[in-house]
Symmetry: C2
DNA sequence: CCTTTTTGGTTGCTATAGCAACTAAATATA
DNA sequence: TATATTTAGTTGCTATAGCAACCAAAAAGG
């Protein structure tokens, strides 16, 4: 019997991601930041001064996008880039005052988002989901090598 | 204690989706179809003649993208659009011979992809993941209304 | 029947997302 | 130390993704 559309777990994951992204996008819109820009800021709020490459690795994304998103964040005056003193190819990315302050506004939004998403789901279930998703990533990454 | 980057399940879902999409993208590249184009074809292989709107609803996507992706599929001569006889606004989307034949090549690839992704994961775990992801979608959709 | 509302699709815009090819700086190696 | 290779970032390309505004056909309601 052929596997049908609804049987693919990857499609379920994809649809869920789109739904969640669309929701947080709307929540962040009043603050004039996009979801992926928010992810970069989230990293910087935890640890300032990362290089573009480090950000790309942490977000598991192509450095191309990171560079472009950082340009946008720079235009919005939320971050600034400074050439690394010991490596002339590399930039360190720092939050501006405005970028730091934005964090205080964003935090309650992402907090509430997380509560909404996880409502009615036990921590055991979340644990299973987390482990299974990690395993899936490892499965395809191993398959590539 | 503040929630950190790695604690957000939505980020985990997003990263996993990117990893899986990137993998299937590479697998489908030799057949010259992109992952989302493949999703549309997957629907049509199951049921031919859907309208653009029906496709958008099944894929839970904006009709704008569907229209554009269908244009691409039309350029590749995999589908054709015919005006609905009883509703002059609507198009029915049909697979071409070429589109039907492509299905036979794609099926083993998506099958193997699914096996790779799910390897080492029990069906009970998959069941939990499926239910939790569905619940998360419902959580945010309820929150919007 | 004629106006109003809804519905199916398109166009224009912005934001991801990643590949290929490139530049320039840093490192490794002959 | 001169050459080769690797690394950090940019530019150009294609493909998603969804919002707003729009057009035209269909349906609803008076």
């Amino acid at each position: 019997m052929k596997i049908s559309f609804n049987d693919y777990i990857s499609i379920m994951i994809h649809q869920t991601d789109l739904t969640l992204t669309s929701y947080i996008k709307a929540k962040l819109a009043p603050l004039n930041i996009a979801p992926e820009q928010n992810l970069i800021l989230l990293l910087l709020w935890e640890k300032d001064g990362l290089s573009q490459n480090e950000i790309a690795k942490r977000l598991n994304k192509d450095k191309t996008n990171i560079a472009r998103m950082l340009s946008n964040l720079e235009k919005k005056e939320l971050i600034s880039r400074h050439i690394n003193e010991t490596d002339g190819r590399s930039f360190n990315v720092y939050l501006t005052e405005k970028g730091i302050k934005l964090g205080e506004q964003v935090y309650p939004i992402t907090e509430e988002f997380n509560r909404t998403v996880c409502s009615g789901i036990t921590s055991e279930e979340l644990q299973v989901v987390n482990e299974v998703l990690l395993k899936m990533q490892q499965n395809v990454e191993m398959s590539v090598k």
